[in-house]
Symmetry: C2
């Protein structure tokens, strides 16, 4: 067994130091979103107990819900067989999606042309 | 509404023409794996009704389970709000993981140093 900080060093970060992190609601089991983490965002996630990602567009740490209040309490972090993808089991304080849908995956492929509901 | 073939053209493929695809068991709601798709693999998935990915390591189409028999019948394909991640709801014919675990996410972060069970 490794401690979490040792494990973080050994994960299969890509050549940009990133890894996809899938976020699943631990209660409803809905897949809520996918975002990227780097080692620092994973350390912050562990320290804070809430999901912290790396925003590729803004090139900065992104504490999910810091502005909106829709934080995600992280109950469990799982690693896939190739050690290059994470799965976070969370208890969300609100919608995961910026559209205010519960999950970012609110459209099927054939609804893709449709607009999100207006809130 | 768009038809699926039109939708495929409009999705947010990355600069390598790829997109992560999360695979979830439609019954147990377990997240089984994450793999990459390109437009051709998504077209084949729709045509076959089974998951076909793009293997980045082998640089070829990868019909999941073609060798092992552990195919994944695709019941629904969902697209996230940014149109750059897919979620496949599937009925798996067997384990998703090459280790024969049901899900590739069989380890928590602190079990990361541990070896998979031997079969």
């Amino acid at each position: 067994m490794l401690d979490n900080m040792e494990a973080i060093e050994l994960l299969g970060w890509d050549d940009q130091g990133l890894m996809p992190a899938i976020v699943q609601d631990s209660t409803t089991r809905d897949v809520l979103m996918m975002a990227f983490m780097n080692a620092e965002s994973l350390r912050r996630t562990l320290g804070l107990g809430q999901a912290v990602f790396w925003s590729r567009s803004r090139q900065e740490l992104w504490h999910k819900g810091a502005t909106s209040g829709n934080t995600q309490r992280v109950l469990e972090i799982r690693v896939d067989c190739d050690s290059d993808t994470l799965l976070l089991l969370v208890e969300p304080a609100g919608p995961a999606c910026h559209t205010l849908e519960t999950s970012c995956f609110f459209r099927t492929l054939d609804q893709f042309g449709a607009q999100p509901r207006q809130y």
